[in-house]
Amino acid sequence: MTGFSILIGGKAGFGIDKSGFIIGRILNQLGYRVYIYRDYPSLIRGGHTFSIIRASSERIAVHEDKVDYILALNQDCINLHKKRIKPSSIIIYDSDIVKLEDGPEGVRQSGVSIAAIIKEENASEIMRNTCVIGAFCKASGIKQDILETVLKKEIPREVDLNLKVAFRGFDAVKELGKIEPLSQNPLPLLSGSQAMGLGLIKGGLNTYIAYPMTPSSPLLHFLAEKAQDYNLEVIHPESEISVMLMALGFAYAGKKVAVGTSGGGFCLMTEGLSLAGMSETPIVIMLGQRPGPSTGLPTYTSQTELHFALNAGQGEFSRFVVAPGDAEEAYYWSGVALNMSWKYQLPSFILADKTLAEGIYNFDLAAAGEIKEGNTVLWDRTTPYKRYANSENGVSPLAFVPDKEAIIKLNSYEHDEYGITTEEPQTTKFMQEKRLRKEEYLAKELEAIKTVNVYGEKNSSLVLLCWGSNKGVCIEAAMKLKAKVIQPLVLWPFPLKQFEEALSGVKKLVCVENNATGQLARLIKNYGFSVDKKILKYDGRPFSLDELDEALKGI
C-alpha cells in the first residue's frame, strides 16, 4: 500500500473545503483512492479550517496525523500543524502572508507570492486556493493538463481567470517531489451525506424534511439542490417538532419521507417518534451525531447517541437502527432503512456522525449493493379496510388518502383495528403485541442479509470491535496487527446470531468508539458479551490511523 497526505488550511469562509475536494479529484485522476477529513470551527469567517486529503493505492476511510504536503494559506496553518511535519514533508505557503522559520532537517519549503499574484491578476481572494493548488501540482510533479481538466470541471465561475491564477502558481515553484500516477481508473468522490441522499433517492424517497443542524445540514442541502432532478419535495419548517409531525403527515398520505437532525434536534423529535411507533407510520431519521451534552462541539464528531436512538420516545415500540461506516454502506443502508420502514411501518434510523456525514470517500456504486424498492404491504380491497388489521407478522396493509373505498384512521391513542380509541385491557394488550411482533419478523428477515461485517485476519483471536465511521481506521490498524475487525451494521434489532458467529475464536475483544463510556460495549453486555479493553476517544475528533496504532501498542 503506497500513499501520502496533503493538508490544506486557511481561514474559514475562503474555500478550503472546495480546494480539498479539487485536490482529491486531481489525485483521483492519477489513479489514487482518496479520503478527505474536514476540520472546521463553528464560525462563518476567520478561525482556522483545514482538510487532510489522504491518497492511497487501496481504498481507505481514515486520515493520518503526519502529512507529506502542507499548503498554507495562513499562519495558523503552520503554527497549529507543526507536529504533522515529517523530515520528508514539502511546505508550500503564501509568502506574502505566512512567515516561515526553517523547518526540521530535510523539510523542503517553497513560498509563493500568492497575495501579489491575486492582486496583479485582479482576482478575488478565494482564488488564492487555485493558486496554491497550481503550485502544489508543480511541486509534486503533477502535469499541468490534469490540473486544467479538473479545474475546468470543478470551478463553476470565472474558469479562465482561475486557470490563469493556477498556472501562475504552477510556474512559481520548482518540482520538489514526484507523485507517481497509478494504473487505476478514477472513482467518484462523495461525502457520506451525498451517499445517504442517493441511497434514499434510490429507495424511493419522495420528501425530505429537516431543520438545519450540523452535521445533518449537508444532507438537507444536497437533497434541496437535487430536488428538481429527482422530483423531491424538500421542506425546512419552523422546528424539529414540526419536521417530525409534518413528515408523519406526508407518510399518512403515502409519501416516502425522511428527516435529518443531530442530537439536540432529535430531542425535539422524540414525541413525534413515539407517535410514529404508536400510529405505525413509516419514517426514516438520519441522526448525525456530534459531541454533547447540549450544544457540545457543533462542528465536530462523536458516537454518543446510540442508546438515545435505541431508547428514544415514550413507550415500547419496534424500530430499526443501522450504522453505516463509509459512503457505500451509507448509500445501501439508507435505501434499506427506507424500505424496511415501509415494509414494517416503523421508524428507521440511519445513525451517522460528523465524520461520515462530512468525510469524503471514493464511491463505487457497483460494490455498494442494489437497493430494491417496493415491498410495502398494500390493502388488497377484498375486505373492508381497517388501518390496524391484525396479521401474522403484525403488519397491517396500507391504504392512502384519498381512497373512495377506505376510511383511514390513524391514532396516537391506543386503538382498535379500525383506529378508534380504546382503553379496553384486552385490545390494549393485543395491539401492543401486534406492534412489537413486527420487530421480531424484521429481525428474522435481517438474518438473511449481512448485518455484521468481518474484516482482517478471520482466524485471529484479537478482535477490534467498532461501529459506524470507525470502520476505516480499525480495518487499517488491524491489518498491521493481523487482527480481526467486527463491525455490526445493524444495531437494532441486534443481530445476535451473526454477531455470535463473528465472535467465534475470540480471546481478546477490544472496542474502539468515539465516546466516553463505550456505548456498543454497553449494548453487547445485554447479550452476555464483555469487552476486554475499551479504546475511547471523546475530544470531538475522529481517530487518526497513527493515534489508533499508538493506542493498540502492547495489546
Binding site: R25, P237, L245, L248
Partner: protein
C-alpha cells in the same frame, strides 16, 4: 349523503351539556352539505390533538389523524402538502393550539397553507381537570393557580391576523346555524383559516350564560378590510367585559404555500439512470 353515515360506533364520552357537541353537530352538517355540493368525501381528512376536543375524530366516520398535544398544525400541513387536493381540517383545544403548539399556528398562518383550524376554545384545561389556559382571564382560579393567574390572556385572533392568516372567524357553542356557516366558509376558503369557537366546558368553566349576554353577530362589517377586521378583533381582548363579536372578521385572497411551491403529482423519473449519470466524471 346520509348524515348517519358520518357516525361511528365509538361511545361518546363528553360530559352532558359539553360545548363540543355543538362543534361536532355543526361540522357534520357542514361536511354533509359540502359533500352534497361536490366535495369528494374521500378527500376529507380530519386531524385532532389531545384533550376533550380530540375525541371528535373518533365520532366522525371520515379519514382522520388523531395526533398529539400541540401538534395538530404540522401534521395537517404535512398531509396537505403531500396531496393538495385533500381538504384538511384540524381540531385543537386552546391549550393545544395557543399553548403548546403556538409556534406551528404562527408559521402555518405565515405560509398561508390551505388548511382549516377549528379551535375548541373553552379557556380551561378540561381533560387534565381544570387548569388555566392561554385565553383564561386574569385572575382565573384553576387547580394550578388557586390564588388566581397573574397573567393576561392572549387574543388569538389578533395574533393570527398579524401572522398572516387569510380567514378569521369566531363562533360559540350556542348558535349552530352560524357555526355551520362559518365552518363551511372556512373550509371553502383558499388559504389558512382559523375559527375560534367559544366552546363551553360545563364542568370546569361554565360560561354559557355569560356568553349569551355578551355575544352579537357582526353586521355591516367589511371582512376584506384589514383595519376594520383589526378593530373588531380588538373589541374584546378575552379579558375585558365588553361585547363579543361573532362571525367572519377577515378574509383575503392570497397565494398559498402549496401554490408557490407548485407541489405536483410525482413525475416518473428513471432514478437509477440519473444517479449513474451524476456519478460520471
Amino acid at each position: 349523503m346520509d348524515e348517519n353515515k358520518l357516525n361511528t360506533y365509538a361511545q361518546n364520552t363528553w360530559c352532558p351539556g359539553c360545548g363540543n357537541f355543538a362543534i361536532l353537530n355543526a361540522i357534520k352538517l357542514a361536511l354533509n352539505e359540502l359533500t352534497q355540493e361536490g366535495l369528494p368525501f374521500e378527500n376529507i381528512v380530519l386531524v385532532s390533538g389531545i384533550g376533550c376536543h380530540a375525541k371528535i375524530v373518533d365520532y366522525i366516520n371520515t379519514n382522520s389523524f388523531y395526533s398529539i398535544h400541540g401538534r395538530v398544525v404540522p401534521a395537517a400541513e404535512g398531509i396537505k402538502l403531500a396531496n393538495p387536493a385533500l381538504k384538511v381540517i384540524g381540531f385543537a383545544g386552546d391549550g393545544d393550539a395557543y399553548g403548546e403548539g403556538m409556534e406551528h399556528l404562527i408559521f402555518s398562518a405565515k405560509r398561508n397553507i390551505d388548511i382549516t383550524m377549528i379551535i375548541h376554545n373553552n379557556r380551561v384545561y378540561g381533560l387534565t381537570t381544570g387548569q388555566y389556559t392561554p385565553t383564561s382571564p386574569l385572575g382565573f382560579r384553576g387547580r394550578s393557580t388557586p390564588q388566581g393567574t397573574k397573567e393576561l390572556p392572549i387574543n388569538p385572533l389578533e395574533l393570527m391576523l398579524a401572522s398572516g392568516a387569510t380567514y378569521l372567524a369566531r363562533g360559540t357553542s350556542h348558535g349552530m346555524e352560524l357555526l355551520k356557516n362559518i365552518f363551511k366558509a372556512a373550509i371553502l376558503h383558499k388559504g389558512f383559516a382559523l375559527v375560534d369557537v367559544l366552546q363551553v366546558c360545563v364542568t370546569y368553566y361554565n360560561l354559557y350564560q355569560y356568553y349569551d349576554k355578551k355575544v352579537y353577530e357582526l353586521q355591516r362589517h367589511n371582512p376584506l378590510d384589514y383595519q376594520s377586521a383589526l378593530a373588531k378583533i380588538r373589541e374584546w381582548d378575552y379579558n375585558s367585559d365588553s361585547q363579543i363579536a361573532l362571525g367572519t372578521f377577515y378574509t383575503k385572497e392570497a397565494p398559498t404555500f402549496e401554490e408557490r411551491a407548485s407541489i405536483k403529482e410525482p413525475r416518473s423519473i428513471d432514478r437509477e439512470a440519473k444517479i449513474k449519470e451524476s456519478l460520471q466524471y
